[in-house]
């Protein structure tokens, strides 16, 4: 059972454009993480959101955790080629040792 669905699965945009990636679930999570992964490397943590309705900004990246703690979004402003990669969301269960990963969004930013 895939608890977290990400959309879109693939995204190819021009440098300077804006984009939003969605991570949706019918389950409630203790917290939610976003990672970026480059080919052949491990995922690198971007942010953890904990509180329902929370918004965090990391330079040109804005992360939002849904009020009901079931979904999240990642918005990138003025995308750059360095943003290219696989974006993964992960929900943490309340037990503290279970994590559920989304299907991934592969982003390509064309110079």
């Amino acid at each position: 059972t895939q608890l977290l669905e990400q959309s879109p699965q693939f995204l190819s945009i021009q440098e300077g454009e804006n984009l939003t990636v969605y991570c949706n679930s019918s389950s409630v999570f203790s917290s939610l993480q976003w990672y970026r992964q480059e080919p052949g490397e491990g995922p690198v943590l971007l942010v953890t959101v904990v509180t329902g309705g929370e918004v965090k900004k990391l330079k040109r990246l804005t992360f939002q955790f849904g009020d009901a703690r079931k979904d999240s979004s990642l918005h990138i402003t003025a995308a750059q080629p360095g943003d290219t990669g696989l974006y993964l969301c992960a929900g943490a269960a309340f037990t503290g040792n279970q994590f559920y990963f989304g299907t991934g969004t592969s982003l390509t930013v064309i110079p």
Binding site: Q33, Y35, G42, L45, T48, A92, F99, T103, G104, S106
Partner: protein, 112 residues
């Protein structure tokens, strides 16, 4: 600061051969440890997790096994590899009181 290591980085093995992948964490104690497998460009499939020495939980039936002989060491093994065992294997850890996982650099396994 905490660091996580995996080795080897890449591995090419024939079908039927044994496997041993190692993961170690530095700078923390009593971590929860995880093994994931990732298909190309896709999400992660949890294989095993461990909350302490000798404590292993398996998420899916498979040809693989895991062991935790020391607090900060997690090993993924197989007695006889299958073609379907090929993939990118990731080790991760999180602290007892934190929700966030941190990943190692991964091991690319190719079974021929």
């Amino acid at each position: 600061s905490q660091t996580i290591h995996q080795w080897p980085a890449t591995l090419v093995q024939p079908v039927g051969s044994p496997l041993s992948l190692e993961c170690t964490v530095e700078g923390t104690s009593n971590p929860n440890l995880y093994w994931y497998r990732q298909a190309a460009g896709r999400g992660l499939q949890l294989l095993f997790y461990s909350v302490g020495i000798g404590q292993i939980s398996s998420e899916v039936p498979q040809n693989l096994s895991a062991s935790r002989p020391q607090d900060r060491q997690f090993i993924l093994s197989s007695k006889k590899l299958l073609l379907s065992d090929s993939g990118f294997y990731l080790c991760a850890w999180n602290g007892e009181t934190t929700d966030t996982q941190y990943f190692g650099p991964g091991t690319r396994l190719t079974v021929l």
